[in-house]
């Protein structure tokens, strides 16, 4: 092993407590950096994957106010609209409130057409897979009003383990049944999302199951659409189509607000405040404070190493040798901490995904994040080493030799 490497490693090992704490601080900083950026990226992924040719019409009053069913034909009639589909929030849970996943009532045929490129049906009735699965699922959806399709996450997650053919009872939170019981849905298909904004733990079922149940008195609730998703000809005419739709219902029972799918996705982010900014600020503050503590630790190491710099100069080394040693030492400590923090972030990825569930489905420590973490660690170590090592260059050998370090 080269002399400078060996000497730097000996110094690291000689100050186990100080360097151990510095490594721990960097481990925490890098873990937090990875965690917070993965959360931010996870939130952003949904927004970024939104379709440019899709609009969402919601109540101008609140997202929680439903729109009349009568609006759909009028929306379909607007120039530039290709297809619209209602999406109604159901809000139930499976067996226990902790087993919550989103359920939406949709028009099954419009939904499948609209989401043709957004989801891939991977399994249909009787174990059918491949290109024929979509048609088989559509047929099954149309043949039973209780039919539903689920995202693959509800099949994969152990506590659900739903499969095609299962009857799944969902306890309602909004649409109570007159008998006080659960709603029963029959799984006829499983899909895999092709867009990041679509969760993989979600269920879509026929809205007419809900509507007819309310009409017949089996269930209590309002027959209405939650929001309308609208496919348009081209992203260029989005503003015009949105204005036309909103103008159409200006004097209707509910005024509407039509926005792009990306803006709609962003709404959920902004609904809990500017989360990315908030998380970024916390992460930045933590990083900065840890950065200063690492620099401080290296400065202490530097002060203790001043006499060594004098000795090395007396032996014929240049002052740069000591500066380099401190930079190398800082880099090593930071990289060890960075690698540990990164390992922690990667190791807990699955756990965090489980904790976030469908809320931040795209939480992932990807290769870009890994590179960023290692680059940040390296920069931190080099900067700390430089801060401690550069002052050496200003000392004469005799001054360095006289120091107490």
């Amino acid at each position: 092993m080269a002399f400078p490497v060996r000497l730097a490693l000996r110094h690291i090992l000689a100050s186990k407590t100080r360097n151990g704490l510095t490594v721990l601080a960097i481990t925490i900083a890098v873990f937090l950096l990875c965690f917070l950026l993965a959360v931010v990226k996870g939130i952003d992924a949904g927004v970024r994957s939104a379709s440019a040719t899709r609009l969402v019409t919601q109540s101008a009053v609140s997202l929680f106010v439903s729109l009349p069913m009568s609006y759909q034909p009028k929306i379909d009639a607007v120039d530039g609209v290709v297809l619209s589909s209602e999406f109604r929030w159901f809000g139930g849970y499976y067996q226990d409130p902790s087993n919550f996943f989103p359920q939406f009532a949709v028009n099954q045929n419009r939904f499948l057409e609209m989401y043709e490129k957004d989801i891939e049906i991977i399994e249909g009735p009787d174990g059918i897979t491949g290109p024929g699965a979509r048609a088989a699922v559509q047929k099954a959806l149309n043949s039973d009003r209780r039919a539903a399709i689920i995202g693959v996450g509800l099949k994969d997650e152990e506590k659900y383990s739903f499969k095609v053919g299962d009857t799944v009872p969902i306890v309602p939170a909004i649409y109570q049944r007159a008998d006080g019981g659960s709603w029963e849905f029959i799984i006829v298909g499983i899909f895999r999302p092709l867009k990041e904004r679509i969760p993989d733990k979600v269920m879509y079922f026929r809205s007419d199951y809900l509507n007819t149940s309310i009409e017949s008195g089996e269930a209590i609730g309002e027959i209405a659409a939650g929001v309308y998703y609208i496919n348009i000809d081209s992203g260029d005419i989005g503003d015009v189509v949105a204005s036309t739709i909103d103008d159409e219902f200006l004097n209707g029972p509910q005024r509407t607000q039509t926005i792009t799918e990306a803006a709609f996705a962003s709404f959920f982010v902004s609904a809990i405040g500017n989360l990315p900014l908030f998380l970024g600020t916390i992460g930045g503050a933590v990083l900065f404070s840890i950065f200063f503590s690492v620099v401080n630790a290296m400065l202490i190491a530097g002060r203790q190493r001043l006499k060594e710099s004098g000795i090395l100069q007396a032996l014929g080394f240049t002052p740069l040798t000591s500066t380099f040693l401190l930079i190398f030492e800082g880099l090593m400590v930071a990289l060890i901490g960075g690698a540990l923090g990164l390992s922690l972030a990667v190791g807990t990825e699955g756990l965090v995904q489980d904790l976030f569930g469908a809320n931040i489905r795209n939480y992932k420590i990807d290769s870009n994040l890994m590179l960023l973490a290692l680059a940040t660690s390296s920069a931190l170590g080099i900067t700390a080493g430089l801060s401690a090592g550069i002052p050496f260059l200003g000392y004469r050998p005799t001054e360095a030799l006289r120091s107490m370090g």
Partner: protein
Amino acid sequence: MSNKAYIQLDGVTKKYSRGGEELVVLDALDLKVPEGDYVALMGPSGSGKTTILNLVGGLDIPDSGKVSVADTEVANMPKSQLPAWRARHVGFVFQSFNLLPVLTAHENVMLPLQLTPLSKSERKIQADFALEIVGLSDRASHRPSQLSGGQEQRVAIARAIATDPDVIIADEPTGDLDRNSADEILQILDRLNSEMGKTILMVTHDPAAAASARRLLKLDKGTLVSDQTREGA
């Protein structure tokens, strides 16, 4: 021993500023040390002894005058060349040993050899030889904290001679040692001078150490007040 001056100081003046006051540490000092000489420098604190060592070793530069070693004017040498020159020509022995505590005795001795063009195996042989000269081959793998003061100073001497320099500069090499250890160190220095021909410049307050040198220079207030050659030397 040649009579030609190997180390030469001509009209060297060195001043330090301390607390706003200017102190003249060396005042137009002239000094000639032939190759292979063994010189002890004595004098009260602040008389300029260590400053002479620092100037000869290229660790400091004079305010005026010339300092030359082996016909090389040290003070005029570019700053970037000084470390390499030091590595080739000068070996330092300090009062407080100044070994790197994180390295073993052998690794400490290997340190200056890193700056030579020797191969790794040649460096190891050279370090082994240096430790053998000071009688510490069996302590090569020990850290400084595992050695006595006398042993530490012997390792420091081994480090100083590892690159086979012409000049050994020793700043109170026995100052931190008991009598027995000090005598061992003086015997080693004597051998380095008499058997290996090293030119030794030693600052000391120890009369026994001074007596072991061939020549005794006494300084006071930056000037040479006495220059004695030991009888029989």
